[in-house]
């Protein structure tokens, strides 16, 4: 393990949960004391709009940040960051937090903590990593380590369906986006859905599901039936940007600690 590791929270995750970012980074820092950190957008949104040139420019900015702080392997918790860096960077390795955790293990205190939870979680896989079986396995591993019961749907893993947020369609065709969200919600029998992308979480909340980010389950209180899901923060731009700012401070603080 000679590689210099770093963590990058991305966009939607730090906008949703600075607390989740904090706990994750603190744990990673225990495992990798010299953990670095970058907070910046990977440019996926720019790319999705079709802005090739601007994307190149913006990704180059990210790449420079990564290089400036000497990170060789970037740990990401967002499937789009994972894909973008994997496809675009010619020298930075990328590792998904969801495949890393099974390797480094979960902190002792969270293991088995949800064994008495009466919730059965459906799993919403991210469509952008529909063929990344290892990431999908990692999510299931984490859930089982925590002690949660899960149910698979017909549209799991490589058959995953879009949450409705993808491809920048929300602002382009909001009515369609809402139909896609509702359809995705209906794919699950359980009211409780676990996701591993904060934007997907927001979509499923809109579709009336009690949806939890896996980091909510990892670091937050054990979820029992009839409990409601955390607020749909991403629906409020003001709150999201405030959170993003908080997360940035957290990245700095944890790395330097």
């Amino acid at each position: 393990m000679t590689q210099n590791m770093g963590f990058m929270p991305g966009c939607s995750l730090p906008s949703y949960t600075p607390e989740g970012v904090k706990q994750t980074m603190e744990y990673l820092k225990q495992v990798y004391p010299d953990l670095g950190g970058v907070q910046k957008c990977c440019g996926k949104g720019t790319k999705a709009l079709g802005q090739e040139e601007k994307f190149k420019e913006r990704f180059a900015g990210l790449q420079k940040d990564i290089d400036d702080v000497g990170i060789e392997t970037m740990i990401v918790a967002c499937q789009n960051c994972y894909k973008t860096i994997k496809e675009t960077s010619d020298h930075t390795a990328v590792e998904s937090l969801w495949t890393l955790l099974p390797k480094i293990g979960l902190p002792e205190e969270v293991r088995g903590k949800a064994a008495d939870s009466d919730v059965v979680f459906a799993i919403h896989d991210s469509c952008s990593t529909r063929y990344e079986k290892e990431i999908q396995d990692g999510i299931r591993w984490i859930l089982s380590e925590l002690g949660y019961k899960v149910e698979e749907s017909e549209f799991s893993r490589e058959n995953a369906r879009c949450c409705g947020f993808g491809g920048m369609i929300v602002p382009a065709n909001p009515d369609l986006a809402m139909r896609v969200m509702n359809r995705r919600g209906n794919d699950f029998d359980s009211d409780y859905v676990v996701v591993y992308c904060a934007a997907c979480r927001s979509s499923l909340m809109k579709a009336g599901k009690k949806s939890f980010h896996i980091l909510d389950l990892l670091w937050g209180p054990v979820v029992y039936l009839d409990e409601s899901a955390p607020e749909d923060v991403l629906s409020s731009p003001a709150k999201s940007w405030i959170n993003r700012y908080k997360s940035k401070q957290i990245v700095k603080k944890v790395v330097k600690a």
Binding site: G36, G70, A160, R179
Partner: protein, 594 residues
């Protein structure tokens, strides 16, 4: 706005290869392209009248075909190719006809009169279909037939227990409704010359079928008591008798016509019926249903034997046959070339019926060229002949079953219509769709498809039915028909359309969207900007088409032509978000410390 080559290429790959509009196997196999999938579904829903109307869009003989169609659709049916249990398409067709067909539903509109007159030789299905289409095109039509009854081989070949004659008459009354004129009992070439016909009419369609029964050159073939299938079945059809035949009858042949001869033999009072074929039982050319039904009726099969000699008494009367054992029927090139061993056996019979093929008689007094089996030489796509005003249809041009005869009748009529209107015979015509074709449809079976057995029909007991000419098959009940219809897989691709919501907003399948894009050279940006880029379409597409990728290419081009900005109003906010996502306020980079 110009799109880059790559996008155009991707769009044309999808347009060319997308199977969204490919015909189901049954529809493609039917030479008339009856919308089988649709009417089977309608029967399943109990909407029999709608089903009947769907059938009548293509077929004027729903009940007839429902009973006797050789149903190429069932051969290609996915339930046959996968499980050997085809949907009983013909049976369902008959059911719809019996339930819902009424004259009031028939479309008797004809075209504006053109002043042109067409003569058709033959009132079989080919001639009848040609007559219908020509009346619809506004031409005057006269059908000549040497018989006094309509239907051709359906009337005098196909036995009555399979096809009641009143069904034919009822369905043929449609032609009278359309104003087709019939000259029955007139044989062209005998009662009236072909040349005369050409003189009296602007165009002639020759649909005289294959009515010359052939007997192979075996020793003793001239004995008293040897007949051919055509004459045998014709006389039985018209009179329910065949006085010249004896009581121990051997039918030679292994096809459906042979089965008809064998089964008809009981019905005119035979004591014993043998069916002798070169082929072994497993490789008989006859349909399995006909084989099974013949065996149920106690026809004795002697398979794998050929005629060595017909034995006769001093008076020249048949007394039996000497048979020789077949070694092989076809040579290595698949050509018919039977070989025999020295093993012989004799059977005692008093009559022999050869069901070994029918040939086409020349009605043209040598004016039309003929080839193997007497079939006229025609252009296979237009059915044109060496005479510009003459077209050939049906068995006479190479068809072999009723529904093919109809498609060929339609083809000949289309050509005659063009000839009469002085339009080029081929221009703009899609010949592929004028006959059976192979669909490009190639899709996995829908999830959870089970092998459900074909719903068996209601046949009268063999012991009872074999002595009369009444229908042996009583058809489906409501319940049976619905059950059978519900087995239909409704073959189609459109897998991406069940996966993707967005595509459904803009077309029936990707082919619609991308072909329109290619045609117009442009696309409403809302289409590519409505794609989630989730890859679900590609994941389920049997061809793995990069539909989202193609939309992505379009987006890039829109940006290029719009000053680097998205053409979508709503994306303004995204641009701001993206800018912020890269701004100093919200970004940081921190080097790790030990």
């Amino acid at each position: 706005m110009e799109f880059r080559e790559k996008v155009l290429e991707q769009a044309s790959t999808i347009t060319d290869g997308c199977m969204g509009h490919e015909e189901a196997f049954c529809v493609a196999a039917c030479p008339m392209h009856t919308d089988v999938k649709k009417y089977v579904a309608q029967i399943g829903k109990g909407d029999y009248e709608a089903a009947l109307k769907t059938i009548r869009e293509k077929l004027f003989l729903p009940n007839t075909l429902g009973r006797i169609c050789a149903h190429p659709c069932e051969v290609d049916c996915r339930r046959n190719t996968e499980f050997g249990q085809a949907i009983s398409v013909a049976g369902l067709k008959r059911f719809a006809a019996e339930k819902a067909d009424r004259k009031e539903l028939w479309d008797d509109a004809v075209g504006t009169p053109t002043g042109k007159k067409v003569a058709i030789i033959g009132a079989g299905p080919a001639g009848a279909q040609a007559a219908i289409d020509l009346r619809k095109a506004g031409h005057e039509v006269v059908i000549y037939d040497k018989l006094t009854v309509v239907g051709g081989m359906m009337r005098v070949g196909i036995p009555e227990y399979r096809l009641p004659r009143e069904v034919i008459d009822f369905e043929y009354s449609y032609l009278e409704d359309l104003g087709v004129n019939f000259q029955m009992g007139v044989e062209i070439g005998k009662d009236m010359t072909f040349e005369q016909l050409r003189e009296d009419y602007d165009s002639v369609i020759v649909a005289n079928g294959a009515h010359v029964g052939s007997i192979p050159p075996v020793p003793g073939k001239d004995a008293n008591g040897v007949f051919n299938a055509v004459d045998y079945l014709k006389e039985i059809s018209l009179t329910h008798k065949f006085p010249k035949v004896g009581k121990r009858i051997a039918v030679i042949g292994g096809g459906d016509v042979a089965m008809d001869c064998a089964r008809s033999s009981w019905r005119i009072g035979a004591d014993e019926v043998f069916l002798i074929s070169l082929e072994e039982l497993e490789s008989l050319p006859a349909s399995q249903a006909e084989i099974d039904e013949s065996q149920e009726e106690d026809v004795q099969f002697i398979n794998g034997w050929g005629t060595d000699e017909i034995l006769k008494d001093d008076g020249g009367k048949v007394t039996g046959m000497r048979l020789k054992k077949v070694i092989s029927v076809f040579d290595e090139n698949g050509r018919f070339a039977p070989t025999f061993s020295n093993e012989m056996k004799e059977i005692e019979v008093d009559s022999i019926v050869f069901a070994t093929g029918q040939q086409v008689q020349d009605v043209s007094n040598g004016l039309l060229e003929q080839k193997g089996g007497g079939r006229y030489v025609t252009d296979s796509e237009t059915l044109a002949t060496n005479l510009p005003d003459v077209f050939v249809a049906g068995d006479a041009s190479g068809g072999a079953i009723v529904v093919q005869a109809m498609a060929l009748g339609r083809k000949a009529a289309a050509s005659a219509d063009r000839f009469l209107k002085e339009i080029d015979l081929t221009e703009g015509r899609q010949f592929k769709f004028e006959y059976s074709f192979e669909t490009r449809l190639d899709v996995p079976l829908p999830k959870g498809t089970e092998n459900l057995p074909r719903t068996s029909g209601n046949h009268r007991p063999a012991k009872e039915r074999k002595w009369d000419f009444k229908p042996y098959d009583l058809g489906y009940t409501d319940e049976q028909a619905k059950k059978e219809a519900s087995r239909c897989i409704q073959c189609e691709c459109k897998l991406c359309m069940t996966e993707c919501i967005m595509l459904n907003d803009f077309g029936e399948c990707p082919q619609d969207i991308f072909s329109e894009f290619l045609e117009k050279g442009e696309i409403d940006p809302v289409i590519p900007y409505s794609c989630n880029m989730c890859g679900g379409c590609t994941h389920v597409c049997p061809n793995d088409y990069g539909i989202g990728e193609t939309f992505m290419g379009m987006r890039k081009d829109f940006i290029l032509h719009n000053d680097g900005k998205s053409p979508m109003e709503g994306h303004k906010a995204i641009e701001i978000h993206q800018k912020l996502g890269f701004s100093k306020v919200f970004c940081t980079k921190v080097k790790g410390v030990k």
